[in-house]
């Protein structure tokens, strides 16, 4: 150790493209404990590039835990060992000198690897297109407070809406199930008056697309909730199940068209 920096061994997944086999590559870094995990990877990449070597491909954007692009599986846990933060909010002080850190991409059939640690998460977008919105007619601006919403409902809906679509729930689930994400998106509307007209259509459509995209089925391990950077509750999954069954029983539609 020199001036408080720690030495780490990294085992990072390298894969040149979607249809290429990947494997782990070994790296050694010396890093400040105050660096974030992504800064550590930046330093590693600067170093690799200065030597004319190919950098490690990873994704990031906001670097403050709100955009959801940065997910990595660190020592078997999406977003690393600290609960309720994204990879970009993880600091190297949570690791010890001489630790070995395994860094892998999110793994799911529905999230194919693009390169190294980057996966394609457009499956989530497709689920959103199926129902993750409220349809409104254009017209005059509605009056404020014309629709009364109880404080608790608004708060609960907001908690669900805090989902950043990072996909850690899928990565954590042993079944690669997207239930936490989809249920958060279903719930944020199901809890508000504005979401009511399409409530039961929405849940059927979003679940259908989720199933078609090859995500697994939930077996209630609750690993998603444990790894979610935003602490989305599995109660949203219960709500979605309830809405789905009600929709199936009540809806007059024989087929769900998305």
């Amino acid at each position: 150790m020199s001036d408080g920096r720690i030495n780490l061994k990294l085992k990072i997944w390298k894969q040149s493209g979607p249809n290429f086999p990947g494997s782990f590559a070994d790296f050694e870094v010396q890093v400040s404990p105050d660096a974030s995990f992504l800064e550590m990877l930046d330093e590693l990449n600067n170093d690799l590039e200065s030597k004319g070597l190919e950098p490690v491909a990873f994704e990031s954007d906001c670097r403050e835990g709100i955009c959801g692009t940065c997910g990595l599986v660190i020592n078997g846990q999406p977003h690393g060992p600290i609960p309720k933060i994204a990879t970009c909010q993880l600091h190297m002080r949570n690791f010890k000198d001489e630790d070995t850190i395994w860094v892998e991409p999110f793994r799911a059939k529905a999230f194919p690897v693009v390169k190294d640690l980057i996966v394609k998460r457009s499956a989530f977008d497709k689920i959103m297109y199926a129902g993750g919105f409220v349809s409104v007619n254009t017209g005059g601006v509605p009056d404020a407070n014309a629709i009364l919403i109880p404080k608790e409902k608004a708060a609960e809906s907001f908690d669900a809406a805090a989902c950043i679509g990072c996909g850690a729930c899928v990565a954590a689930c042993k079944n690669a199930s997207a239930m936490l994400f989809v249920s958060a998106k279903v719930s944020q509307f199901a809890l508000l008056p504005q979401g009511q007209p399409e409530r039961y259509e929405r849940v059927q459509k979003m679940v259908k697309v989720m199933d078609d995209l090859g995500f697994g089925s939930c077996t209630n391990t609750y690993a998603c909730e444990a790894e979610c950077p935003k602490g989305i509750s599995v109660r949203n999954i219960a709500r979605m199940n309830r809405d789905y069954f009600v929709a199936k029983v009540k809806s007059a539609n024989l087929e769900v068209e998305v």
Binding site: E104, R107, G216, S217, N220, R239, M240, N241
Partner: protein
């Protein structure tokens, strides 16, 4: 009917079948345990209970067929879910972090379920077969003595006790999981349901397990 099949074949539908069949089996186990615990009331009582069941045989048969269907659906769907869920993650992680984010009960449902299945086959082959199709002791309506005789073997009793512990493990996850699947996860009551499930599982494991323990260690023979 197309919509119904499609609904039951969706990811949520399959879960729904697991939960409905699971709850049916949970209820069945309660009745089965009460019935079995009459063994502790001695040979006359138990043999009479079994004889009384004989008199309502047609009804018993109907229940047995329903139970068989429930088991088939539960097992078929459980294995199907397991296979499909593995396919949803074709490449495994090098480091398995699942012990850090999920309990062992939830991660081993198919394994504990499989042990229960093996147990079920052995169990039916010994008791159900002998009670229904006869054996030297059961032909004389000495059902109690047949049970006592069966549990004389350390290997057989040991297998029973182990299987009942595994059953408890399966139920501990299954109980609350079924409630979650139905959508009955309420902030106020769910922790109670989890505790209720744990208590139920312990009662089942200890209750059923106590029978081989009794015949192995405390029953002197006649």
């Amino acid at each position: 009917m197309g919509w119904l099949l499609e609904s039951l074949n969706s990811s949520l539908g399959k879960k729904f079948i697991m939960a409905v069949t699971g709850i049916c089996l949970i209820l069945f186990l309660i009745i089965h345990l009460i019935n079995n615990l009459t063994l502790f009331l001695g040979p006359e009582v138990f043999n009479n209970v079994v004889k009384n069941l004989e008199t309502i045989k047609p009804l018993v048969r109907v229940v047995e067929v329903i139970l068989l269907l429930i088991f088939i659906f539960h097992i078929f769907n459980g294995i199907r879910l397991w296979i499909e869920n593995r396919q949803a993650r074709p490449e495994r992680y090098a480091v398995n972090g699942s012990s850090k984010n999920a309990d062992v009960f939830s991660r081993t449902m198919v394994q504990t379920g499989s042990v229960i299945f093996v147990f079920l086959v052995v169990h039916l082959q010994t008791f159900w077969y002998a009670f229904n199709f006869g054996s030297p002791l059961t032909d004389l309506h000495k059902y109690y003595e047949f049970v006592a005789d069966s549990f004389k073997s350390y290997a057989y009793s040991g297998f029973y006790i182990a299987a009942m512990i595994i059953l408890g493990v399966h139920l501990n996850h299954g109980f609350q999981s079924a409630f979650q699947t139905f959508g009955w996860n309420h902030k106020k009551y769910f922790s109670f349901i989890k505790i209720l499930g744990a208590v139920y599982s312990i009662i089942m494991a200890v209750g059923f397990g106590s029978i081989p323990v009794y015949f192995l260690f405390f029953y002197g023979g006649n």
